[in-house]
């Protein structure tokens, strides 16, 4: 279970707004997050991952305090065991598909399974610039799963996938997330694409 109460200032064209969130996510739940651009969805995911800090608040995951502004507690990202799929993928240009996964884990059977899940097993020696947008996005998802995260944060993870590939990938993801028992938060501009999969939703105004 992840419980958080945070307050974070957001920079916006029309001045400053404050992101206030008080929410808890059950272990293993899958939550879709949607709302207009600039409402703080990506910032929210980054706050949970520890990539940016809120001004106020507390984040507790499975009884461990990740962040507490008042007590000056801030667990580094590296120790939160969070998988993150970045909107712009953030793939490493110097690494091949396989090297991306090897950088994250030494578990060879797991790497093979992920490559099959993302249908990238025949592209494992290719670097990101030689992959299509959809292939890059799948690699970003596989890399985030490679560490077997307890919390998976996905920012527009299916935007570049065709419907057939998305259906197949989601089917495989469901099984893996269930096995890992991961709590998942998915930011999407197209909430309908997650219908029938997620069991919670969160709307940003």
């Amino acid at each position: 279970m992840i419980r958080l109460t945070i307050e974070k200032k957001l920079k916006a064209y029309h001045g400053q707004q404050v992101l206030r969130i008080d929410k808890q996510f059950a272990t293993g739940s899958i939550t879709k997050i949607y709302g207009p651009s600039g409402s703080g969805k990506t910032t929210f995911l980054k706050v949970i991952a520890g990539l940016t800090n809120p001004e106020k608040g507390i984040i507790i995951a499975d009884g461990i305090t990740w962040f507490d502004a008042a007590a000056k507690v801030n667990l580094p990202t590296q120790k939160r065991n969070v998988g993150f799929v970045f909107q712009q993928y953030a793939l490493f240009p110097n690494m091949t598909v396989r090297q991306h996964l090897e950088y994250a884990t030494a578990d060879e059977p797991w790497i093979k399974r992920l490559l099959l899940l993302g249908k990238l097993d025949n592209l494992e020696t290719h670097k990101p610039e030689y992959l299509s947008g959809g292939q890059q996005q799948r690699l970003a998802i596989l890399r985030a799963l490679a560490t077997r995260p307890k919390l998976l944060l996905m920012d527009e993870p299916f935007s570049a996938l065709d419907p057939k590939m998305k259906t197949e990938l989601v089917a495989g993801l469901k099984i893996i997330l269930q096995e890992l028992g991961s709590t998942t938060l998915i930011v999407s501009h197209n909430p309908q694409e997650l219908d029938g999969w997620v069991n919670e939703e969160m709307v940003f105004e």
Binding site: Q78, F84, P93, N94, M95, Q99, E129, R143
Partner: protein, 223 residues
């Protein structure tokens, strides 16, 4: 023709470049991460040699490391190290003088990398050092190579600062640029031309090599 100034110059440039790789690259990384008033001051100080007359820098180094007083005396008395009129002095001066040529390109390249690259690495449990070594550094290879070549080439051409702190001691501090000046002073234009031609050729080949490398690197789709 006495080739010792050429060898001495290459040795000085090689040692300076290696030292600046070890010191300057982590330093550039530190500078590239966030801004503070302290970092602005530090960056201004290491950029000074770009605009400061080399003789001014050499003069202050000469004063600072004179074995007769202050820091130079302490180094001499405590460790028997003398930077004035010695090869070590040339290395020290070159490291300071060429620092902006290593730090500048590396820092700019690191700042231009998307922040999400490092962030993605952190979410995989990697430390800042692992991220720097495995993700950031390999993705600034062209800039790193440019910095190495600029540093090496710049050290080859140093004159004022090395003359001030090292003087003109054959085999010890008489580098090629000083040998050119010395030869011209003695009206020995053949020797001056020989030294100049060698320096010109080395520098030209280095710069061409950088352009060729940066043009063709990372063209293979395979790892």
């Amino acid at each position: 023709m006495d080739l010792s100034p050429i060898w001495l110059t290459l040795k000085l440039a090689g040692i300076t470049t290696v030292l600046l790789l070890v010191i300057g690259v982590p330093f550039a990384w530190w500078l590239s991460r966030g801004r503070s008033f302290f970092k602005i001051i530090v960056e201004a100080v290491i950029t000074m040699p770009l605009v400061l007359p080399p003789s001014v820098l050499g003069f202050y180094l000469l004063l600072a490391f004179s074995p007769r007083h202050g820091l130079g005396k302490w180094l001499h008395d405590s460790f028997n190290v003398q930077f004035v009129f010695s090869f070590q002095g040339l290395v020290l001066a070159s490291v300071i003088y060429s620092m902006p040529f290593m730090v500048g390109p590396v820092k700019s390249a690191l700042q231009q990398l998307p922040a999400a690259l490092a962030e993605a690495s952190y979410t995989l449990g990697k430390t800042q050092w692992q991220t720097f070594k495995s993700v950031l550094l390999p993705n600034i290879k062209p800039s790193l190579l440019t910095a190495v070549v600029l540093t090496f080439a710049h050290t080859l051409g140093e004159f004022g600062v090395v003359l001030m702190i090292g003087g003109n001691i054959p085999g010890v501090t008489r580098v090629a640029s000083i040998a050119v000046y010395d030869s011209v002073e003695k009206m020995d234009y053949t020797a001056a031309n020989n030294y100049s031609l060698i320096l010109f050729s080395i520098t030209f080949v280095l710069v061409i090599a950088v352009f060729v490398f940066n043009k063709y690197q990372a063209k293979s789709p395979l790892g």
